[in-house]
């Protein structure tokens, strides 16, 4: 029995939220124009730390975009009935977050006016070059997937496209991790474990975003998510968070084991100023331990909205991790002469003190604005709200999986 639900964000609230999102997006766009017109000297970036806050947010959005599609894949590819009605919303979020991430990263280019050149001149040995194919096809596949999920006549084909989208995004996120993993020059990168680490992070961050959006949509419609479904999805988030911790531990342990990487690891984990603070405080405590407590310990589970708090903390932890990973990896100087103290006019041997500037902050947040605006408009127009047929699920035993 399907109940007709009003899943539209009605009236003034729609215009408020969409307007807010549009305002944030426009501020981001304005900041990008300012940077493009004046050159990057108006930012806090320099020739040592040249991938700054915009890259942190953009990579978070791109990785989470791939991961949020996981929700749909669990339904389509792995056949879990509880996740099937969540497929279209998951696909929509995948598209909007990827668009948002690309918005931020492409506007931060030194020559953003050359995007057409980037798409027509492709160097196939470069992961960025692969992305010129990986991202557009992802948009196409997910768009097709959403259509097939929502169009009754095409539903039969949705599994094929769903499997294709599942495989495609594994390739895409492996690529994103390999952007760093293939870099031999830097102590923070050149590790094979970075690609699977990014895959697992995409699962965690994507699910966290999904849970928050799902909660918001149910709230707009004065609906309550079924308790068993909620607990099941929360458990899944907890599993992913634990898996992320595992990969991060392996990554750091491996680095520490190499004697020549020890100083770099000490910088990141112990004495590097903002980086250890963000790693331990942001990623480990806020982003891993607290969410795990909220999701698994009964006395914490009883807190109102514990799952959503855990999701928000996971996102914060993810951003902190990426900040340490991307910016810490650049702030620590290249080790060209092992064992030697190095000094130069180009700041060799010097730990950079990167401070994000206002244009960068506005552009980074503008990305979230773009995702919010497109999502809100799409959700207003089409029926993305997951509609659970609880009776049917209970009858088939799916709720007790």
């Amino acid at each position: 029995m399907q109940t007709e639900l009003n899943n539209r964000l009605e009236g003034q609230s729609f215009y408020n939220v969409a307007g807010f999102g549009a305002l944030i997006s426009l501020l981001g766009l304005g900041a990008a124009l300012y940077m493009e017109h004046n050159g990057h000297h108006v930012t806090g970036m320099n020739n040592q730390v040249f991938w700054g806050l915009p890259h942190v947010f953009a990579i978070f959005l791109i990785v989470a975009a791939s991961g949020v599609l996981n929700v749909a894949s669990i339904g389509t590819v792995f056949g879990k009935k509880v996740y099937k009605p969540r497929g279209p919303l998951s696909g929509l979020l995948a598209i909007t977050m990827l668009a948002a991430g690309l918005f931020v990263i492409m506007l931060d280019l030194g020559r953003a006016d050359r995007l057409v050149i980037a798409m027509t001149h492709v160097n196939w040995t470069s992961v960025f070059g692969w992305n010129m194919v990986l991202y557009p096809v992802f948009f196409g596949l997910v768009g097709l997937y959403i259509w097939m999920l929502m169009e009754r006549k095409m539903y039969a084909y949705s599994k094929t496209v769903g499997v294709a989208a599942f495989i495609w995004r594994l390739v895409m996120t492996t690529g994103t991790g390999s952007i760093f993993g293939f870099v031999v020059a830097r102590q923070a990168y050149h590790s094979a474990v970075i690609a699977p680490m990014f895959i697992i992070m995409s699962f965690a961050w994507g699910l966290a975003v999904f849970l928050i959006v799902q909660r918001m949509m149910f709230g707009w419609n004065n609906l309550e998510l079924n308790e068993q479904i909620r607990r099941r999805m929360n458990n899944l988030l907890g599993t992913f968070i634990a898996a992320v911790l595992y990969f991060v531990v392996v990554y750091h342990l491996t680095n520490i084991y190499y004697a020549k990487q020890l100083e770099f690891e000490q910088f990141i984990l112990l004495n590097g100023g903002v980086f250890p603070k963000l790693f331990w405080g942001g990623f480990v405590v806020l982003g891993t331990i607290l969410p795990l407590l909220l999701l698994y310990v009964p006395s914490f589970q009883r807190i109102q909205g514990s799952g959503i708090i855990a999701s928000v903390l996971t996102i914060i932890g993810g951003l902190c991790f990426l900040y340490v990973f991307i910016i810490g990896g650049q702030a620590y100087p290249l080790d060209m002469f092992p064992g030697m103290e190095v000094k130069s006019s180009f700041f060799d041997g010097h730990i950079d003190n990167y401070v994000p500037s206002m244009p960068e902050i506005l552009l980074s947040i503008g990305g979230f604005g773009v995702a919010l605006t497109i999502t809100v408009i799409a959700v207003r127009v089409l029926p993305f709200l997951p509609q659970d047929d609880i009776a049917k699920l209970q009858a088939s035993g799916a709720l007790h999986d």
Binding site: N46, N131, V183
Partner: protein, 247 residues
């Protein structure tokens, strides 16, 4: 009016006419250099893979506190903009001062793009702007550089710089501009004319040598064959065009 009858007079008049036309062109177009007029008629053959340009730097001769090579590079390549934050300034070559913390021994050396035979910057560039010419010189094709800075992440030598501001006083032979990434070009505009890079010529200690590594008769090839040289971060096996001694 005159009708030359024999071939030798005809050819002489022909040559004189061409010379006259050439001088006339010069008169009509002041500012054109003679060397450019003659070059304009015969394009060069371009870079050849038979040649591999390389540099040998003897750091035992490199004087600490001397930065003649850096200044020469900046003059030659038009790196003359004023930057508010020095961390945002471009440096194609810089002097690095090394100190061994255990023994206290100090020395200095110039660091520049190493013009690797297997350049990581070329591998990672999404558009192919970062390129290696046939003769081994690694360049940035600024026509297609989108300023993504991935090459800056990939370079083990911090050789690449992003231009952070609009430029107006470029050297016409060295185009460089805002938003594109750049690095040492081995003064390709000089090398293509048979000259040496500006840093080589400026070094007062004669610590730097430039030449064709593939030519067994060149000074650099002979020294590299006889003397011990090292490559910075040789563990990466990038097969560098710049070799060092004394480190």
């Amino acid at each position: 009016m005159n009708q030359p009858q024999d071939k030798s007079r005809r050819s002489f008049v022909g040559t004189a006419a061409i010379a006259g036309a050439g001088l006339g062109t010069l008169a009509l177009a002041p500012g054109l250099q003679l060397i450019q007029v003659s070059e304009a008629n015969t394009p060069t053959a371009g870079a050849s893979s038979k040649v591999r340009w390389g540099m040998l730097i003897d750091t035992t001769k490199c004087a600490s506190g001397c930065d003649a090579c850096v200044k020469a590079c900046a003059t030659e390549n038009g790196i003359n903009e004023t930057v508010k934050d020095p961390r945002q300034g471009s440096q194609w070559i810089r002097k690095i001062d090394l100190k061994n913390p255990k023994t206290g021994q100090e020395h200095s050396l110039p660091m520049l793009c190493q013009h690797c035979a297997n350049p990581p910057c070329v591998d990672v560039c999404p558009t192919g702007a970062s390129m290696k010419r046939a003769d081994g010189i690694v360049l940035v094709d600024r026509h297609i550089c989108i300023g993504c800075r991935y090459c800056m992440l990939a370079c083990p030598y911090k050789a690449r710089s992003l231009v952070h501001m609009p430029l107006t006083e470029q050297n016409p032979e060295v185009p460089r501009g805002q938003g594109c990434v750049e690095s040492c070009t081995f003064c390709v505009q000089r090398v293509d004319k048979g000259l040496k890079p500006a840093c080589i010529e400026a070094c007062p200690e004669g610590a730097m040598l430039f030449g064709d590594l593939n030519d067994p008769n060149s000074a650099i090839a002979q020294r590299v064959a006889k003397e011990k040289t090292t490559q910075v971060r040789g563990d990466l096996q990038l097969n560098l065009g710049v070799r060092y001694q004394g480190i």
